[in-house]
Amino acid sequence: MVRKRNIPAYFWRRLSQLLFFALFLFLFIKTDYSGSDELEYAVNILFRIDPLLALAAIFAGKTIVALMLPAVFTLIFTLVFGRSFCGWICPMGTLVDGGASVIRPPKGTAGSDLRAVKYYLLIFILVAALLGLPLAGYLDPFSLLVRAFSFALYPAFDFAVSSFFTFTYLHAPDWVNAATEPVYELLKKSILPFSHRVYGLGLLSLLLFALVLLLNHWQRRFFCRNLCPLGGLLALVSRFSLLAAQGGNEDCGKCRQCRSICRMGAIAEDRRISTADCNLCLDCLALCPRNKIHLSFHRPLPAAGSYGMTRRAFAGTVATGALLPLFLPGRLLARRPDPLLIRPPGALPEEEFLGRCVRCGECMKVCIGNALQPALLEAGIEGMFTPMVRSRIGYCEYNCTLCGQVCPSGAIKKLALPDKHAQVIGRAFFDKNLCLPYAKGIPCIVCEEHCPTPDKAIKFREQSVVNARGETVTVLQPFVVDDLCIGCGICENKCPLPGRAAVRVTSEGQARQAGRHFL
């Protein structure tokens, strides 16, 4: 009788990684209008189970964020199963592992030991968040990942696929199209975005993501070992975890195979496994020639491994986190916020918004009009990647409330449709030097046609004007009724002038900043 070969332990870990990555992709694609006003899936769940973002949002807002309570589950999970979240679930970790198979990192313990950096980053992020400088979203692995996917990879994928099928459509013979067109149809209905999307900061987001993968070149899972602040937080918790891989000891002689293959550098010279570093990938279980390593709920004593932090650096980190926020009120934008910084409807007042927003990019991914774009420096350097409406790129669809539905932290409140309709995010202003009926006596009022409020905020008067040829012509000249305008930006978006729009929206009058407007 042939004995069935045992399935190695890491097979289950790989299966889990694949399944969770597939789930991630599924939810990513489902972060889109689905034909009904409400989303069908909790597409933002990844961010809501992230305890780093939850803590940062709670510290910044000094309030419990109920939406992010699922993060407690991750902490409990980690208390039981150690950093297996990093090894089995995290989609960024999966991609880093995937990247390692291409980049071929050096083995085991190579490279200098930088694992303390992630703790410094974590402490710095949390102290700064508490004192008014929100930075968690910059380095959170999920934020990094979803931004790169939303802003860069997905549009590029769409472009590649569409270009191919446009080529076949235009140039290939009919028998080819008979095969390719149904495929394209299927792809459009399943995984491609409904329309071609554009995003600011796409290349930067891609670069940061690529860097995370490329760091594999120096150490396997470099980012997870050394930089990931979420990994740092989970490492602090997993020091007390119940389940741990263990078994190697002095009896192993000269064999250090486990140490040489460990992707997290978690195994010490004496073969004890640090629970703060081990992500339970289970490679060592399968590779140990003497089958000594096993998982056990009986912890080895004392807990192996140290955080590698020094008291001096720790104090320095806390001091930096505490002092940096002091420099924020001295900036220009503290006196004069950028008037083009238009936040999505339902956004909290700016300071609270910045603290709450986790820079995950979900709202920008889901925005049906492609209107929400990552800010560059409009909200200060710490506001990079936060959402703002760029009306010339896309406008805020009157009957859509998706951004508030996907926001994992409540930085954008979920609005009922009547509330959304009444939510002023800015106001439109005409530039009469550009606007055709004013500047050139040419009929237009495309803006008026598109203005979505039932009592139109853009109205017009009939006026006789002299045009460039000296003829007196009658045109309809548009103007804004401030009380009706909600700042959706469709007028600016649809303005047919090729360059700068003749009607532009500014944040004037926005509902969330009470008492600051003259209109």
Binding site: N177, N399, C444, E448, P452, P454, P496
Partner: protein, 304 residues
């Protein structure tokens, strides 16, 4: 017919038109005299499915327009993310009944599309037309979103204000193109009716059309030629058009207008708003180009 052949044909056809037209250019008054009197049918009723059949009956029924195996395009207005009762889009029951009749007449394929102003998926869904057509459950029925690859450049050789524009291939390619606008208010053109509805099958920056809109719509009507125009006035939008949003601006008329003459259909629909055909620039421009009749006295109006 394959794509390349089609594009060639479009160019040849455009060029042919430009060559042929001078020979046959006839001044509108002569044209009107020579032409048989245009027929227009009007029907009133609250059962919209039956109303569609009734309004078509005096024109010979759907079979007069759709032949077995035809590629049919039904072009409603579904340009806005508005609900059916808000009267910004064509009544879904009217579109459904027309599609049903076309299918019964043996159409090989019935396509329904519109290049919307608001986000396309929201417009298709919230206009109610998508759900209504899904109810017919016929595989010959296609309500796809517009495909940017299918806009082809077309020479508009008779155009006075518009000499070329990108037009949707499926609209040009149809054996029978049925235009089903909703009659409603519009800030610039005063009303949007059949001719204005053709803007839903053109590509490019449509805002540019607004300069000399009436003439441009007439120019467009020289190349986008519906065999049948059915104007939906089951409810009309009186103010804050073309998208409305306030039910106070909506008036229920339970009326449908049908004609093979696109200008006559628009001219008659104008009267529902207490306006005269001459008040609408596109109607006047199209009439002057000989594309149809706008003089209500010269139109044979059949009340079905």
């Amino acid at each position: 017919m394959d794509r390349r052949q089609f594009i060639k044909d479009v160019f040849l056809w455009s060029a042919g038109a430009s060559l042929a037209i001078p020979q046959f250019r006839i001044i509108p008054s002569v044209l009107a005299a020579e032409k048989p009197q245009p027929l227009l049918s009007v029907a009133k009723g609250s059962d919209y499915a039956a109303l569609v059949s009734r309004v078509l009956a005096p024109l010979g029924g759907m079979g007069q327009f759709v032949k077995p195996g035809d590629k049919v395009v039904i072009k409603p207005n579904m340009g806005w993310d508005r609900k059916p009762e808000q009267a910004a889009n064509t009544n879904p029951l009217v579109v459904m009944a027309l599609a049903n009749l076309a299918l019964q007449a043996g159409a090989g394929k019935v396509m329904i599309f519109d290049r919307s102003c608001n986000e396309a998926r929201r417009c298709y869904a919230n206009s109610g037309i998508q759900a209504a057509l899904a109810g017919l459950d016929d595989r010959r029925l296609k309500m796809d979103h517009m495909d940017s690859r299918k806009f082809v450049p077309v020479q508009i050789s008779r155009g006075k204000s518009l000499t070329s524009w990108e037009i949707y291939k499926d609209a040009l390619d149809a054996d029978c193109y049925i235009n089903v606008p909703v009659a409603k208010h519009h800030g610039l053109s005063r009303l949007t009716l059949g001719l204005k509805n053709s803007m839903g099958v053109i590509g490019g920056n449509r805002g540019d059309m607004h300069h000399d809109l009436g003439q441009k719509l007439a120019d467009l009507a020289t190349v986008i030629r519906p065999k049948l125009t059915v104007i939906d006035a089951t409810r009309i939008l009186l103010r804050n058009g073309p998208q409305g949003g306030d039910l106070k601006d909506v008036k229920q008329l339970d009326t449908l207008i049908a004609s093979a003459d696109p200008v006559a259909a628009d001219a008659y629909a104008t009267t529902l708003f207490d306006l005269q055909p001459a008040d609408i620039d596109s109607t006047v421009a199209a009439y002057k180009m000989g594309l149809g009749e706008m003089d209500l006295a010269k139109i044979k109006i059949l009340t079905a």
